[in-house]
Structure formats: structure tokens, C-alpha cells
């Protein structure tokens, strides 16, 4: 028998609405309420300024190691903004802007990165997972959550975040494969920020795009300009609609850039050039969105200045509250809580031992 060609879907769309100068492709402009647009702007600005403040606090020794988000605000907020409160957010560790959008407080972020377990408190009404440090491992949790939502006949979706590096992990493959097989209402958001610490995107995979990997799993894949919040929002809305309608999962590759360090323990000058960073600074997601909002008449120079001041005050108040709270180191014995629903006898013993040891230390 001759060799024959097997027809498979072999096209991946790249989606962009606002170019880097903030010019709009009006035919593609999504229908977003003015109020939502301004809210998106607020959180993008808050995400950026909070990031900068955290970095400066870290350099002063007032915050521990953390993963900055600067440059990725549009990818995080355009996606998280399409979620309903009852949907599930399953973050990796570089989604602070998305988490703030969902209602996590800046104090909580600061407490967590200062080593206070108080910073992982998640209110009952919010279906958001704590951040996940082992790369890619959280993808499967979103798959399980979305499976359960479907089993219960709900139209709640789960949204998993991860980076370009995670696409090399086995859990990425397993998660997308399961999502395809079971037609699960899950949205995979890949923040392709070009760098997995020192490894560039091109050395992560030979694939032309990350989005095309979706084809192999029989799910919808799309590449968007991840610095264009309108395109990200539009792609994520389509994905959410698809999931809620029972039409399965979507893999969104947001092409973006990590403008800052991988974590505060990293020195990117060892592996990338200043020219590259400058190039991406010109593609800044906030500047172009700001320009769009000004053109639309929703923002003005004065309003931008006012927004900056408001955000600065909001951050300062949160820093003050967090630092006040951190004056209380908390009870060390708390480490034994929530290990199990009910504390087993050996932990009761260990907790009592530590209590005795600490109290005799205090007495000297």
C-alpha cells in the first residue's frame, strides 16, 4: 500500500487586537463593559506596582524570596477576568495579579513570601488553590476539579496556570491528554514568558508554537499576544464558553515576557541580554492598554495620575497592615495543625514535646 496523507487539523491561530503602540483592530474589539475595562486597568497597574514594591522590600530584607510578575499582567488578568466567583483558579507561582483579581489580599501575599503560613489562608467562598511550586504538577488538579464539576452537572470551569517550562513536564502531557479524553471543562493558560530561569523557550521544545501541542490531544489550542489584554480576554472568554457548553478544554498560549528576575534569587544578566529586555519593554502590556483607554475616552492624563496615586496608597496601606501583623510571629505549635483532619497520637506527643522545649528555652 502506498504512503498516504492523514488529514489532521494543522493550523493554529495567533490572536492579537491591540498592537504594541496601542492601535486597535476594531473588527476584533471584544465587547467589554467600561467598568470592567477600568477594573482590568486598575489591577494591571496594581499588579505592576505591587511587584515593584515587593522587589524593593525584598532587597531591603523585608520580604523573602518571591517570583515577580512584571510584564505578565495582561496574560494573568485577561484570563482570570472571565472566571465567575464559583469557578476554580489553579495557579502556579507567578500569578499574583490573577490572585489579587480573585480577591487575595496583598497582605496575604506578603505574609506568605515572608514565611507566614497565615498567608495561605483561603476564604471558604473562594475556590482558588494555593500557589503550586513543583512545576506543572498543578495542571492535573485542575483536570480533576473540572471533571468533578462536570460530574456534579455544574457549569463551573477550572483554570490552570503554568509557564513555558512546564510544557516539558510529564504532568502537562498527562493533564492535556486526560482533558481531551474526558472532554473536561478546563482552561489551560500557558504564560509563555520566554524563559524558564535560564533556559530560553527555543531550547524548551522544538515545536514552532506551544499552542500547537493542543492538536495532539484533540483539544482547541490558540496562541495570543499575551501582552494584549483584549486578545487574552477574548480568547479566554471563548475558552470559558466552550467549557461551559460542554465542548471541552482549551489550551491558551499567552506570548509574553518576564521583564524581571525569575525569583529574587536569580540574576538574569547571566543568560539574557539587556537589548532583549528593552525590546520587550516596548511591548509593555500596561502602556498599550492605557493608550487604548485614553483613545476610548475612559482615561486621561489626570485620571492616570490619580490611578497611580490610588494604587500607591492601596499598596502602602497593605504593606503597613502586613508589617503590623508580622510583628506577631504566631504560635510555632501551629505547624502541627491541619496535618490531618484529626491530630494522630504521635503528633500530639510531638506537639507537646515542642511546647515543653520552647517553654524551657524561654526560661533559659
Amino acid at each position: 500500500m502506498p504512503r498516504t496523507r492523514i488529514e489532521i487539523p494543522d493550523e493554529i491561530e495567533h490572536f492579537s487586537i491591540l498592537d504594541q503602540e496601542g492601535n486597535l483592530d476594531s473588527g476584533l474589539e471584544p465587547n467589554i463593559a467600561d467598568e470592567t475595562l477600568l477594573q482590568l486597568y486598575h489591577y494591571m497597574l496594581l499588579g505592576r506596582r505591587f511587584d515593584e514594591r515587593l522587589l524593593s522590600l525584598q532587597r531591603q530584607g523585608r520580604v523573602g524570596t518571591f517570583a515577580p510578575i512584571s510584564g505578565q499582567e495582561a496574560s494573568q488578568l485577561g484570563t482570570a477576568a472571565v472566571l465567575r466567583p464559583s469557578d476554580w483558579l489553579v495557579p502556579a507561582f507567578r500569578e499574583t495579579a490573577a490572585e489579587l483579581w480573585r480577591g487575595r489580599t496583598m497582605e496575604s501575599v506578603m505574609l506568605y513570601f515572608n514565611g507566614y503560613s497565615e498567608g495561605v489562608e483561603i476564604p471558604d467562598e473562594r475556590n482558588d488553590f494555593p500557589i503550586s511550586v513543583p512545576v506543572g504538577s498543578q495542571i492535573l488538579h485542575a483536570v480533576g476539579i473540572a471533571w468533578a464539576s462536570q460530574y456534579r452537572g455544574k457549569d463551573d470551569v477550572a483554570m490552570a496556570f503554568f509557564g513555558d517550562g512546564a510544557t516539558s513536564q510529564g504532568d502537562f502531557h498527562e493533564g492535556l491528554n486526560f482533558a481531551g479524553v474526558f472532554r473536561i471543562p478546563v482552561i489551560f493558560v500557558c504564560q509563555n514568558n520566554q524563559w524558564a530561569i535560564s533556559l530560553p523557550r527555543k531550547k524548551q521544545t522544538r515545536s514552532e508554537t506551544l499552542a500547537q501541542k493542543a492538536i495532539a490531544y484533540g483539544i482547541k489550542g490558540i496562541q495570543v499576544d499575551g501582552n494584549d489584554v483584549l486578545a487574552v480576554y477574548a480568547a479566554a472568554s471563548e475558552a470559558a464558553q466552550r467549557a461551559r457548553a460542554g465542548d471541552g478544554a482549551t489550551f491558551i498560549e499567552c506570548v509574553t515576557y518576564r521583564l524581571s528576575v525569575h525569583t529574587t534569587a536569580d540574576d538574569p544578566k547571566r543568560y539574557r541580554t539587556d537589548e532583549e529586555v528593552e525590546l520587550w519593554q516596548q511591548r509593555d502590556p500596561i502602556k498599550r492598554f492605557q493608550k487604548y483607554l485614553v483613545t476610548k475616552g475612559l482615561l486621561s492624563e489626570e485620571k492616570v495620575a490619580a490611578a497611580e496615586t490610588a494604587v500607591k496608597e492601596e499598596i502602602q496601606a497593605a504593606v503597613d497592615r502586613a508589617e503590623e501583623q508580622m510583628k506577631n510571629p504566631g504560635d510555632p505549635l501551629y505547624m502541627f495543625e491541619h496535618a490531618y483532619a484529626q491530630m494522630p497520637p504521635h503528633l500530639v506527643e510531638q506537639k507537646e514535646y515542642l511546647a515543653r522545649a520552647l517553654s524551657s528555652q524561654k526560661k533559659g
Binding site: S137, D171, A341
Partner: protein
């Protein structure tokens, strides 16, 4: 009371819990139409449909990782890893997430899941099918580790594992799957996780074991009585973690002598932990050094040499006599 194999008893537990609670979902490789390679899930697919008995693609990490998400949502997944030798591909999901989601979220989320998996040797299986690695799981804070030793306690423990609010690793010694039958009541029966049982009363020496090694241990106890007139007390741990030390502590304080038997490798095995507990709580009651009869610190050999690897009644008898002579 019907007499059942361990396979049938486990099947009964799953069937009854699924019947009672629609949060209970069975998932894994070949668990549906095929009923599982050992037939533990036989007939569940027909009774509860593919909505609740889910044949998954071949991917252990996803089976466990997905179960974590399902459990956090509020379901009670019971996943099967076809052989414990393949569970390591899901180990990071258990260690990094299942074991600590409750702790990491300060109680907001929990992972009430069970990972069932056939373990240990003795059935002339292929490579990677005969290991006893309960210590990995018992060493992981946040997990519970359970190993039944017969049909009746297997059923009663699986019921508790499914109802448990925390993740439970449920090892099923495959050499016991069809080794013998026991009466298993149709009506509900549950053994609380974290409780050991006395399998035989005695006053001269304490034998501590669990899982597949309970049979040779009890056989050794009978031989001691028969040949030496020695009354051995035998403790079946049933749960490895959290370890119930109450029975063996009381027993060792009475007999002054202890022998620990397990199939798992010797070094850093469960026996080492039990010895430590005895040293901490019962040292001054001891009349002789504690002995361990265990697997060796090597890869479980291909099955031609497997019987030499596995502890047996003869080795237990020999070690116990030494402990008694000391």
C-alpha cells in the same frame, strides 16, 4: 456469613460504599469493563456506569493528580494504581500535594482520596511487581498507610479508608488476594485506621507483623507452641501510619521479648521505627535484644529466587528462638 477471598471482600467494600455515597468514584487503568487486572472492581462498571467507574488512560501521575482535584472539589475518589511498582510515577503528586493540601491551605481544602494498589511479592510476578515500599508512604507526613492481612480486615479497612477525610495509601498484598477465604459479614463493618489488632494471645514473646507476613508469623507462632511449648503473642499492625503502638507496647512490657517481621527491606524499614518505639517506651522491660526478620536490602530477585528473599515461618522461628534463648 458468606466466605470470601480478599478480592471479593474488597469488591464488597467498594460496592457498598458506592451504593451509599455518590461522591465515591473509582478510577484507574482497566478498572471498568475489565474489572481491574485482579478483578477487585469487577461488576462495578456494570452497576454504576462509566460515570462513576472511570477507565483512565495509562498515566499514574494523572490518575493520582486528578484524584486530588476531584477530592478537593468534594468527591471521594478511590483510584487504583495497577501495581505498587508503578506508583512512583505518581509519587510527587502524593508527596507534594495529596499529603499537604490540607496543611497548605490551612484546612480550606482536603484530599479525602484512597490510592489502592497491589503490593509485595510471592506470586511469581515480573520485575517491578513485587516490592513492599510502605516505608516511603509512612515516612510522608500527611498520608496514612494501611495494609490488611486478610479478607475480613481488608473489607473493614477499605470502608474506613474511603470514609477517611485524609489521603490513604491502601496496600493490597497480592499474595493474599486469593490465598484463603474468610467469613465476611454482609452488614457494615469498619476497622478504624490507626488501630492494630491482637491476632494471637501469648505471654512469652511478642511477634509484630502485618500484611502478607501475618500468615508465616502465625504459622511460626503455632510451631513455637507445638514444638517448644512457647506462647507467642502476635500483633497485626494493619495501619503502618499513623502507627498504633499501644498493643505492642503492652505486649512487650508483658513478654520482655519482641520479633518484628516484614517483607519490606530491612534498613530504614517499618521495623526500625517499631524498635525505636520499643526503646522509647519499653526498654526497661526488655529481657533480650529485639530481632527483625525482613526482606533484604536488595532488589526483589526475579521469581526463581524470590522464595529465598521472602521471610518465612522457618526464619521467624529461628530468630524467635534466639530471642527466647538470650
Amino acid at each position: 456469613m458468606p466466605k470470601m477471598t480478599m478480592v471479593q471482600a474488597l469488591n464488597l467494600a467498594l460496592r457498598q460504599e458506592m451504593d451509599k455515597d455518590d461522591r465515591v468514584i473509582v478510577l484507574g487503568e482497566d478498572v471498568g469493563l475489565d474489572g481491574g487486572v485482579f478483578r477487585v472492581t469487577d461488576g462495578l462498571y456494570q452497576q454504576f456506569s462509566d460515570k462513576r467507574v472511570v477507565d483512565t488512560p495509562l498515566a499514574e501521575s494523572a490518575i493520582v493528580g486528578m484524584s486530588i482535584g476531584m477530592a478537593a472539589y468534594g468527591l471521594r475518589p478511590v483510584c487504583e494504581i495497577q501495581f505498587s511498582g508503578f506508583s512512583y510515577q505518581a509519587f510527587h503528586q502524593l508527596e507534594n500535594h495529596a499529603a499537604r493540601l490540607r496543611w497548605r491551605s490551612r484546612g480550606r481544602f482536603s484530599v479525602p482520596m484512597v490510592m489502592r494498589t497491589p503490593c509485595s511479592g510471592g506470586v511469581r510476578a515480573l520485575e517491578h511487581h513485587s516490592e513492599s515500599r510502605e516505608a516511603y508512604y509512612a515516612h510522608t507526613p500527611g498520608l496514612k498507610m494501611v495494609i490488611p492481612s486478610g479478607p475480613r480486615n481488608a473489607r473493614a479497612l477499605l470502608v474506613s479508608a474511603i470514609r477517611d477525610p485524609d489521603p490513604v495509601i491502601f496496600y493490597e498484598p497480592k499474595s493474599l488476594y486469593r490465598a484463603f477465604r474468610e467469613e465476611v459479614p454482609e452488614e457494615e463493618e469498619a476497622i478504624p485506621i490507626g488501630t492494630s489488632q491482637l491476632a494471637r494471645e501469648g505471654s512469652d514473646v511478642t511477634l509484630i507483623s502485618y500484611g502478607s507476613m501475618m500468615r508465616p508469623t502465625l504459622e511460626a507462632a503455632s510451631l513455637l507452641k507445638e514444638k517448644d511449648g512457647i506462647e507467642a503473642e502476635v500483633v497485626d499492625l494493619l495501619t503502618i501510619s499513623p502507627l498504633d503502638d499501644s498493643l505492642f507496647t503492652a505486649s512487650v512490657r508483658k513478654t520482655g521479648r519482641a520479633v518484628i517481621v516484614h517483607e519490606a527491606p530491612r534498613s530504614f524499614g517499618p521495623g526500625a521505627e517499631i524498635v525505636s518505639k520499643i526503646m522509647e517506651k519499653s526498654f526497661y522491660y526488655l529481657e533480650a535484644p529485639i530481632a527483625r526478620v525482613t526482606g533484604f536490602d536488595v532488589v526483589v530477585p526475579l521469581f526463581n529466587r524470590e522464595n529465598a528473599y521472602l521471610p518465612n515461618a522457618d526464619r521467624i522461628l529461628r530468630e524467635t528462638r534466639q530471642v527466647l534463648a538470650a
